[in-house]
Symmetry: C2
Subunit: 342 residues, 2 copies
């Protein structure tokens, strides 16, 4: 079912260097320094535990994917100002707050290869510092003063929280459909990617069509990213993943690979998945069996096919912009997102 | 040390009817209906768990103290519009989000005489629905469109979170000073009271002096409220309190009554408090002993004296406004806050 794999967005037969984040990182390096200054400055508080806990995650080697998207989108539009530095920091604060609360919700113990904040500092402090960062992100937006940006990011925040609750409701429910799953990751992951790109069009004072193009780029990229993450959870190892392989399986998370293996599974296999997802199959052998079933039904490749589809939609969403370093960097970012799965 | 107790803000010897919330409730009854409509409308979501969990707390018999303060403050300024309805709902959403997260942080099982949301729905959903309500509150403010209101409420939210983290750091630390304690409740409780009142001056387009007067009224009222709550925790019973008596004691919370009893205590008594606050004295006998020590050192009355001081400052902050039903209602609200302790 999988087609020949070549980097999407480039002609087949073009040199097959592995796509990377290098172009986007080079493009926004200087801007990102400014964003990092804002982040470090604005996570401070007279309560020492706040920067300590926030710094554990923020300084902990995240890719700054979302702020980079704001910065690269602004470059795509030749925005000459600096308003987006504060706003990119606001986006990263929303993301960080979400991660802190996620780790509490999931009881995770590893993120980006480090112990999670909830494990080191406890759930109570982690919840509250998340709240603090969330409030700070709105303070940054208010300082910028654009009601349009505030509307986009407060809307995205509400949608993220809805998506997280929806995911919680779907947890341990093997009957989750692909449609519902896509709605969940569209909310909990892709909404902030979309908003991060879209606000660049607002600060650059471009028309709504440009806003919508960047929104679509970010949204589809976000879905592709999440789908590849879901695939990687079953095939990677802890060293490259920064979290334990099979974590989703042990947590009873119904991700797309599982949905597809279940859909294609025999009655016996379905019984296995049902038991696994309600938490009765959590051993290493169970995980090995699950992985074998995914392989047998091509579920990882099918998931990556879906990711490629959304990746292509992201690339096509910005097809109308003239060629530029920024455009190439945004395209290669999509290719990188997909290539991680292969 | 305690003076003769008469309702503050009225001459001694005036008829001693018990102060109540009746005047403020009568004053804002109609406005509050509109606010409740906004609250019910905007806590909806296509994810059924969200209104279910939010409604558990929101419909659970809270006094709507903070929205009432926004509404009464607007009346004090003869504001003729309706913008404050949405904003009062936003204030209540921030408050509700804070309560949900508080109950997770404290592991509480009773609030307003009902099982807490975390007990009924679990910590994960409670954290996430708090996040949702917080985002919704910003959406409401964005719809109103006042950057000044957004600044006041995002600032207050950050301060609340800081205060909560600070309180967490102070938990189980008997050496907490009265000064630090006042800073904590100033942040975690009084900041939102202050903001709730202040935003009325913004929508009524009054000058900064009016903003500051209402801010001071709310802030001092908030501190008074919290101090009386802290006293009541040791002297009330579950029926009137809506939570268990002695909860603060068992949680190792260093509130002002404890700070004062410790300050006045003998070396043996100090040892008792030290053991109690780190969690080694949690039996009913220990609570009885603690209560007896508080009585012996007059710590409850001293705490209520402090509350009266801040209550008086609240009343004096609005002394410059001409006499009106709204002003009387705001004054009686302060008197009610204090009288609960006696």
């Amino acid at each position: 079912m999988t087609a020949t794999v070549h980097p999407i967005g480039r002609p087949a037969g073009a040199p097959a260097t592995a796509p990377s984040l290098d172009p986007i990182m080079a493009l926004v390096a200087q801007d990102l320094n400014s964003v990092n200054s804002v982040i470090l400055d604005r996570m401070q508080s007279k309560i020492p535990l706040i920067p300590e806990l926030a710094g554990h995650l923020i300084a902990g080697g995240g890719k700054r994917m979302r702020p980079m998207l704001t910065l690269a989108s602004a470059r795509l539009l030749d925005y000459p100002g600096t308003r987006h530095h504060k706003l990119a920091a606001a986006v990263e604060f929303i993301h960080t707050a979400t991660l802190l609360h996620d780790d509490v919700v999931d009881g995770s113990d590893l993120r980006r290869g480090k112990k999670t904040a909830n494990l080191v500092f406890g759930n109570p402090a982690t919840v509250l510092v998340g709240d603090f960062l969330f409030s700070r992100s709105f303070e940054l937006m208010v300082e910028d003063g654009s009601l349009k940006v505030l509307k986009i990011l407060s809307g995205a925040s509400a949608i993220i929280a809805e998506g997280e609750v929806d995911q919680l409701t779907a947890q341990r429910q093997i009957e989750t459909s692909e449609e519902r799953y896509l709605a969940i990751i569209g909310a909990k992951t892709a909404a902030l990617f979309a908003a991060a790109c879209r606000i660049a069009a607002v600060v650059a004072e471009r028309d709504e069509q440009v806003e919508l193009a960047l929104d679509a780029y970010g949204r589809n990229l976000g879905i592709a990213f999440q789908l590849v993450d879901d695939a990687i959870d079953y095939v990677s190892d802890e060293a490259t993943m920064g979290k334990g392989v099979g974590d989703d399986f042990r947590d009873g998370k119904v991700t797309l690979p599982v949905i597809l293996a279940y859909a294609h599974g025999s009655p016996d296999e379905r019984k296995f998945w049902e038991a696994a997802i309600i938490g009765h199959r959590t051993s290493d052998e169970d995980l090995a069996h699950a992985t074998q079933l995914l392989r047998q039904h091509n579920a990882i490749d099918l998931t990556l096919d879906r990711a490629r589809h959304f990746g292509q939609r992201a690339i096509d969403a910005i097809a109308g912009f003239p060629a530029s370093k920024a455009k190439s960097a945004l395209i290669e970012t999509v290719e990188f997102a997909i290539a991680r799965g292969y």
